[in-house]
């Protein structure tokens, strides 16, 4: 396994260079231990196909998504305007995010504040690379015959109508794709959205990620594919709660791609 090469935009600028695409890592991808692995895997994919990319590193800051969903529009717009200043200073045109929340916020809510970029989610990038023939499912772990199900993140699916890209990344695997009872536009939230990730849930009969486990178990899948670091946390906790960690793996689309290609 090669060491990953991750230049920062500042480093590239110092050499007078510009990345083709900016990888917006996101807070979870930067700090959450589980999500950090996914971040590294996204970089491995970018390295593997030879795309010129860079990260903002310490110059990256929260998009403001959790603040906005929680009703703190001030904080959101402060974050957004500061981020737009940084992005525009580096003349960034194209962004790939590792998180549907960052993706939605930068793509849909930044233009109104003056930040216009072409924004894609990493599952869309993977789909694109597969379509272009630059990425296959060869040379790594075989998923042949494995039952895989995909959990739609709300801000990728319903929020932005991206249902097919993450599934395309799974279709190349020669695995058995199964859909959960509640999927695509009917998909059940993992329970983390709307800033719920950062608070205790309100009183109720059970937690939403536990409710989601009934769909996961019913699908009999041995791999649950995720495409959002918050879904990752909630689904992993759910599987743990069912004591099914040995039987069911929760993996991000990027991790599955990396494994299938032996990167």
């Amino acid at each position: 396994m090669n060491e990953i090469k991750v230049p920062t935009v500042a480093e590239m600028a110092a050499e007078g260079k510009q990345p083709e695409i900016l990888f917006w890592v996101g807070c979870a991808g930067s700090f959450d231990e589980r999500a950090q692995k996914i971040t590294r895997d996204i970089c491995k994919i970018l390295n593997h196909v030879g795309i010129s990319f860079a990260v903002l590193g310490t110059e990256e800051s929260c998009t403001g998504d959790p603040a906005k969903r929680a009703g703190n529009e001030f904080l959101f717009q402060m974050q957004a305007m500061a981020n737009i200043q940084v992005l525009d200073a580096y003349e960034i045109k194209k962004i790939v995010t590792g998180c549907p929340h960052c993706f939605n916020t930068i793509k849909n809510e930044y233009p109104g504040l003056g930040g216009n970029y072409e924004v894609i989610h990493h599952s869309q990038l993977i789909q694109q690379l597969i379509d272009e023939g630059k990425l296959k499912a060869e040379g790594g772990e075989s998923f042949k015959g494995k039952k895989i199900t995909y959990h739609d993140p709300c801000y990728l699916g319903r929020g932005n109508n991206v249902y097919e890209a993450p599934r395309a990344a799974l279709e190349v695997l020669d695995a058995e794709l199964v859909e959960m009872k509640r999927c695509k536009s009917n998909g059940l939230c993992c329970g983390a959205g709307g800033a719920q990730m950062f608070k205790e849930p309100e009183k109720g009969k059970k937690d939403i990620n536990i409710e989601r486990m009934t769909d996961v178990l019913e699908s009999k899948a041995s791999v649950v594919a995720a495409a959002c670091p918050f879904c990752m946390t909630m689904l992993s906790d759910g599987v743990k709660n069912e004591n099914k960690e040995q039987e069911i793996q929760v993996l991000d689309i990027a991790e599955i791609t990396v494994r299938a290609n032996g990167l």
Partner: protein
Amino acid sequence: MIAQILFIIILAAAIYLFSKNVGKIRRNILLGKDTDRSDNPALRWKTMAKIALGQTKMVKRPLAAVMHFFIYVGFIIINLEVMEIMIDGVFGSHRIFSKPLGGLYDLLIGGFEILAVLVLVACITFLSRRNVARLKRFSGVEMTEWPKSDANYILIIEILLMSAFLTMNAADHKLQLLNVGHYIKAGSFPVSSFISPLLPDSANALEMIERGCWWFHIIGILAFLNYLPYSKHFHILLAFPNTYYSNLHPKGQFTNMASVTNEVKAMLDPSFVPETTGEPARFGAKDVTDLTWKNLMEAYTCTECGRCTSVCPANQTGKLLSPRKIMMDTRDRITEVGNNIDRHGKDFTDNKSLLDDYISREELWACTTCNACTDACPVNINPLEIITEMRRYVVMEESQAPASLNNMFSNVENNGAPWKYSSADRLNWKE
């Protein structure tokens, strides 16, 4: 002659009363704040045609979709028959369309009869789903006595109207066969011909039944028309403008508040002079008049079907939040505000508000903003926007966010991340 005058008086009164009540609802909706939904008319017409006219979002639940379609088509097409009834009523004619339409008239009347039966089947199915099978979707904290009765009244009225229509035709048909007076041979009666044997044979009695059903049918329709503004059934009208004015942006996109943009720009750049917008705005929504007219139109459009609540992850896991309740509370409150204006004048305040008096904070904070409710709504109602506006008020005007969220805010503000990590460590994942 007396019958004609009586009919004209009843018709005029019904139309007057209906317009007055619709005017009130329109006035109430316009108490909301302005929002621009005039862009992209082509796409708006298309959305309306697809979602309101074509009912494409109903198909997710096939049985309800088919049954609802029967009632919908029945309602629209049988209205052609109501046109004839109106003209006959005003001019004292009988089946005035039969001559000019000829053979087509037979086809139409026959078609109406079959539709009437389909409407009956659908109404009975719906009644039993609500009252016998007791589907979970039709219960919940917000489904108190009135909403439940409202739904039953609508279905019962429709059953009565259709039964009167068929009985009227049966009597008419029998009178036609007896060659009585002005009962000309017109129409075909594929359904009511099964009812006519049950009716008496005397021409007098038949005429009474025919007239009785005719009056019951038309007065029933006019009464039903005037019931609409008080009922969830108002959706049959508002579904059209409501889908026309749909949110055309991706569902994940929340509005950027212009009032906040001004303040933030002024904070970042002291030389920035914001365009004055007149009155100082309240951030977010405490009461219904802080919402947009579109939010309020949606509240009056809601027919309380409960698809939103049945897919809400918070509701499914036993939390207090129910998107349907958000819409019903908004409607009830704006109606109350409107009534206050009618009774006590424009400047009256009752010291109540949508927040706390109707919708609790616990409901607001249970939402995951997952958009399942907005996706499920067959007429594109957006409960999430109301929830967000109310969160904005609680957070920005009252600073009353839950403590854990305040922690998150201060982390974002100080460290650029929702957790307490130093931004200097942002690249540590590389190692």
